[in-house]
Symmetry: C4
């Protein structure tokens, strides 16, 4: 079982890096927004601050490394690079699904990055559907311990499971089980999607049962039906995948909706983001933090230095966008009136 997971995790990275698995017929929706330029910002660029806090810890920038990997040897170095870069830049970091570590002790070390990132907010990750497959709070607690994480995130990935030959597709009664975990676990519990988005009403139901933060992980970037299409050995899955290329809630719409219905709650925007201007739009639309996954994977494989260069670019872009609208800090950005919807529909 652990072996199967390892193989799957390795394949995911491989497929995502080498094949065309982009969503098609759907975009993140950020291109439908444009900032209204503030020609006289009345701000000193040097004074612009990106710092905020997350999971009770200060982060130097409102950024998050999205949950990606672990449980495979290749992941060991990827996770180390990510952790080192995150520590250096003060970003938060999500680990990939830590299930492999539970099922196979030998994989535990692939997730153990706390030594490289002592100060950042770090969270462990597990598929919510596992709660219908024998997992309970004991396992959740164990994952958190093994990874020395500040929080646990459960991911909702219904359609991915459908397109996996080995998928778990019983999503009944999960809300109740998540509520119990949330109540009993010593660390905060978050919920995320993996690329099809979470809407505002669902986020509300999640916050209502005690979930601490929601990552919308919306559509417009990687399409997981396309990824699994490359892996599946069932002809019908391969054929059906194409009909889901444009499935999901565009990230920009998901963030907007989740924020509107959940004032004051911690919301993370991820899904297809590529640069700091899009991040600025996400924050102006309501996000507290912005996550990057696929678009930093290349550098994550390479080295911490390569990652740091990307992080620097993203931060510079965000700062420049803030300068462009005269926002000196994230609160200014969140409250800006300088973001305009320039198109009616999302492609």
């Amino acid at each position: 079982m652990g072996d199967q997971i390892e193989r799957r995790k390795a394949q995911h990275i491989d497929i995502v890096m080498t094949q065309d698995v982009a969503a098609a017929g759907i975009t993140t929706g950020f291109e439908n927004y444009r900032f209204i330029h503030e020609a006289l910002p009345e701000v000193n660029f040097q004074d612009i601050s990106l710092s905020t806090e997350f999971l009770g810890k200060e982060v130097k920038a409102p950024f998050l490394i999205s949950s990606m990997t672990g449980g495979t040897e290749k992941a060991t170095s990827i996770n180390r690079h990510l952790a080192e870069a995150a520590e250096e830049k003060g970003w938060a970091m999500g680990l990939g699904s830590t299930r492999a570590a539970l099922e196979h002790e030998a994989y535990a070390h692939t997730f153990q990055v706390r030594k490289y990132a002592p100060s950042i907010p770090l969270f462990a990750n597990l598929g919510a559907v596992q709660l219908n497959d024998g997992y309970d709070e004991t396992h959740c607690r164990k994952i958190v311990e093994i990874t020395e994480a500040d929080a646990l995130v459960l991911h909702l990935n219904s359609l991915q499971e459908v397109f996996q030959d080995e998928g778990d597709t019983d999503f009944q009664g999960l809300l109740k089980k998540m509520e119990q975990i949330a109540r009993r676990l010593e660390v905060p519990l978050g919920v995320k999607e993996v690329g099809w988005g979470i809407h505002g009403k669902l986020a509300k139901r999640l916050f209502d049962i005690g979930i601490s933060f929601v990552d919308v992980a919306g559509a417009g970037g990687t399409s997981w039906s396309q990824v699994e299409k490359k892996r599946t050995k069932t002809p019908i899955r391969k054929l059906a995948a194409d009909a889901f290329k444009d499935w999901g809630i565009p990230t920009a719409e998901a963030v907007t909706d989740v924020r509107k219905r959940n004032p004051g709650k911690t919301v993370i925007a991820s899904g297809g983001l590529q640069n700091g201007v899009e991040a600025a739009k996400a924050i102006a639309l309501g996000a507290d933090l912005v996550g990057f996954g696929r678009s930093i994977l290349n550098e994550a494989i390479e080295s911490a230095e390569a990652l740091i260069q990307v992080f620097d670019r993203i931060e510079f872009e965000l700062k420049t966008a803030m300068f462009g609208i005269g926002a000196e800090n994230l609160l200014d950005l969140k409250q800006t009136e300088n973001l305009k919807h320039i198109r009616l529909s999302s492609g």
Copy 2:
């Protein structure tokens, strides 16, 4: 006459399979809708049920094989494949225009598929305009008997007749005649178009005179003016056909309109559908059943097995779409609020 029909029917299949006869400048309109993803479906994929009933019989899935052929030798095997696959999967089936069987006893067997499909809803088919060409309830009754059908469907194909050199183009007084047939025939009478669509007010007039079900057969798939363009020997018809490439009511608009004005009535969506996600949209917009024609013709020529694979794919797509919005059965799907109009106009 029977010979002429046979030739026409054979040509239709041939042209549709080998030439470009797609509508242009018009689409089904389904691409203007997008499902709002429900990240936490609270459903077990295995429990999703597609069953419903049609013409008093249970069908295992809300699908229909659209009326396509008969009256030509080639049709014998096509119809057998279709019938066998329909029986296997529990789909309903429409026969192609059964006029040839009446005019030429020798062709009757090409429609006699009841032996391969004893349990499914099956219906016979006739051009409504034939009622102005000597046909009456006696003929209708005979067709039903020959085919052992559960119902008869009259098709409205005004523009196709115009583009046929041998076409019947007197469509006067048909409503009244259909009313009589509906009243006197022992089986239910349905009405369908062939690819240009039926709107809500006409559907209402049809239900008002006793028609049992309406298949919108809308635009966006095969263009029948383009098909007849390839057959006609009249230069003027060939030239004029192009001006009608974008004629018709997009299928999605037709279904929406017909449902809105005819609550509680049996509505079939067909015309250009290719997969189960589009079928899910059609049902969410108001269809009870969804028909597939052109997009399964390839496999229909090949074998029942090939067809079954397509049917499996379509059902899997529909189930996955339902899972994606947390619908456990067709009633949930029909009542969903998770379908969103994402564009203003239809291309």
Copy 3:
């Protein structure tokens, strides 16, 4: 002077036939409308009537040959072909600008087509701006006599004159002069544009001074700035022409607006029309007659037979469109509710 006009007229035909002078960035706007198909027309195609009347004469179809040529030898045969075809099919016909015939007796015969078309509505044509260049009612009367026309049409072509090296660009006080002509001339006086359109308020002012009919001659077809660009020897005109490629009121918009503000008045739609479906839309939007120019010029050069074939196609397309929405005659078409605006803006 007559020589110069002859050269210009010959060049126009030549340029229009061989070079790309299409408007760009603007369309007729008819593509923004779609007919709602009426699956049960309750009409016999054979009974559909296209006849109407114009200038007190019956026309067999609501069609008009737009004013194109005359005053050049080449025009003699073109005009003869047009007249013969018009007589054969019962279309109305407009002659090209008959100014040459006045300035040069020798050219008069190029316009004298009444012998080939004894029964149709025929009208002579003159640039309205000539009224500021020495022309008055005497000249108008003479033109009508020479051509045995049923009416005279004055064309408004301000931008064309600007782009002609020899252009007359004093358009002051023309309304008053047109009013006088309208009052004193024995035949009806019409007004047309040449491809940039007439809007509703101007049409009203024209009808108010006694103009009998208005031909919108809107944008989306031939761009006259592009035509004159090919002729001009002034570098500045050549360079400036491109900025006017998308100038004008799209034909569909012009017709709609003119009709809305001028109920009961005689309105002609022309400008970029190519087929009978577009003609049907024009009529449904408010036109009484529909004119074709550039799109029949090829055949006009060739022969009357070639023209007749095009006329047959256009009539067949119109009839088929009417059949498609269940309109038995032009009044039905004018009053149809089956025309839908499917896009917001015109490209």
Copy 4:
């Protein structure tokens, strides 16, 4: 320092002329407007007047040469050509940033064009941000003296400074400092952007502190982040620049907004304009003057004669557009109701 500025100024011209530095994903927005053609203009083309006044002087046309260069040897001839052409045609002229002249006496002559253009409105130019870098009213006064200018314009170029390795990015407290200069300087003080636009509320704040005129210098033409991308030696700037390709307020939107909120004030439209039809739209949307920069640079390098030909073309296009809508002078054009918004969003 003067050397550095000289190098920068020379590079700017070089890059703008030879490389692709166009804004992408954003346009000026003028293509979203279309003039409603007035087929009967009732105007004599010869009588159309373009004259207006600016900075207390009469200009023969509502046109302005946008601030471009100076402070480099190459600029000497460019500025001379521009001045000679401006004098010949009666256009206003803005000099490029005159900072170099202050820091390096030797460069002063590159801006001294008053001898070639004794009668036109001429203005000097300085980066507003310099007021945070040691510049004050004394320097402003000196620049005006050296250049014999009628006014001084301060440019706001926040994002350009961010993308320059040597950029000044402290934009704090500039409004107050501009207010002082405006109060104390003997000539009028204007404010402009450099290609990202000024919106209506900011313009109001500027007029409120005593600024005499505002040039929106909006987006859709040259992208200054793209220009600086070619110059920068910092990898992060090079990478980040692409995210700002579509930044800014489209020129048409900026003009509209600035005019709406500042009735009666002097507003200049510039940014990406290419011809006189766009200029006509800008004026109809509210501009008093229209500026051209990049699109006349080629000819500015060549000769005064080449420039004059372009100016003639632009004036001819403007006049023709005015003729096309029946406007005899700029007041008519400003008050026209013949400009229509044909699309909802700007690309």
